[in-house]
Amino acid sequence: MERDFWLDDVQEVLFTEEQIHERVKELARQISQDYQEKTPIIVGVLKGVMCFLPDLIRKMSIPVEVDFIAVSSYSTETRDKGVVRVVKDLDLPLMDRHVLFVEDVVDTGLTLHYLLRNLRARNPASLEVCTLLNKNPRRLINIPIRYVGFEVPDYFVVGYGLDYNERYRNLPYIGILKPSVLFGKD
């Protein structure tokens, strides 16, 4: 049995590898059914979807095209620049295409709202959202999300692509970090 490298930092496992696997399979089945006869473009937001998106598309039973977008997020460094920047834009044109936008987690909806406005301007035939995790308690912008993996309470979660300071993305499960890891003490 391999030792969990981060075991000392994780307070609780919220979703096990098996639970994630099953839920992703269900989502893929539902999406494949909804997009029958279509070849959607699956757009992922880097870097949080690095585990979710590959697993999702491998379980889909329809042809898909895949692209990625990355945007700057708010930080003390970016605050004076004032606006979101697209760090990596899409390579594929979206005009008249069915687009499924894939997120790791939607909480406030601020980033998603910005990105959807950006994508809508490219005139896709349809635009839907799929998120692995949905944190409703923190929602500021109401955005209809068609596919939700798991509803989660407002914990700081890591693993399966989600990070804290770029770490923990490679955890096979989704877990809550100990307060001592986040704040030193609580």
Binding site: S75, R79, L110, L140
Partner: protein, 137 residues
């Protein structure tokens, strides 16, 4: 327009945009909203909650932010949960008296997690640390 007038106007606009916030967390929140292009107003409306027999307002509540595009009021609190009784009571009363008002309370942990997601660990420690408990909310 002369340059001096332009600069004065800019300063006035900036002052109008960034009012004197009561709590540092409010300024961080406003900057985050600006970054994502979300319109906001700071404390634009006060809701009376209790009156005396003559109709004088005894108690009122002023949410921190209003997001006009979302028609949503937002209240932020950095107080520990055990210290938020008064605020919770006011919010409950607000919802009873003004059922059509959409308001969201961002609690200490939610704010902390939001700021951590944005990589603002130092801000978290500065704003939501022990010292923040001393501030009157």
């Amino acid at each position: 327009m002369r340059l001096i007038d332009f600069l004065e106007n800019e300063a006035l606009e900036s002052e109008k945009k960034f009012p004197q916030f009561v709590h540092p967390i409010e300024e961080v929140f406003a900057r985050i909203l600006d970054f994502y292009g979300i319109q906001w107003e700071y404390e634009p409306r006060t809701f009376p909650l209790r009156w005396d027999d003559e109709g004088n307002v005894l108690e009122a509540f002023t949410p921190d932010f209003y997001l006009p595009e979302q028609n949503l009021f937002v209240e932020l609190t950095t107080l520990r949960p055990r210290l938020t009784t008064k605020k919770n009571r006011k919010l409950k009363r607000l919802k009873e008296l003004y059922p059509d008002i959409n308001i969201k309370l961002f609690k200490r942990r939610e704010l902390r997690n939001m700021m951590l997601r944005f990589g603002l660990r130092e801000e978290v420690e500065r704003i939501i640390g022990t010292d923040a408990q001393e501030m009157d909310e």
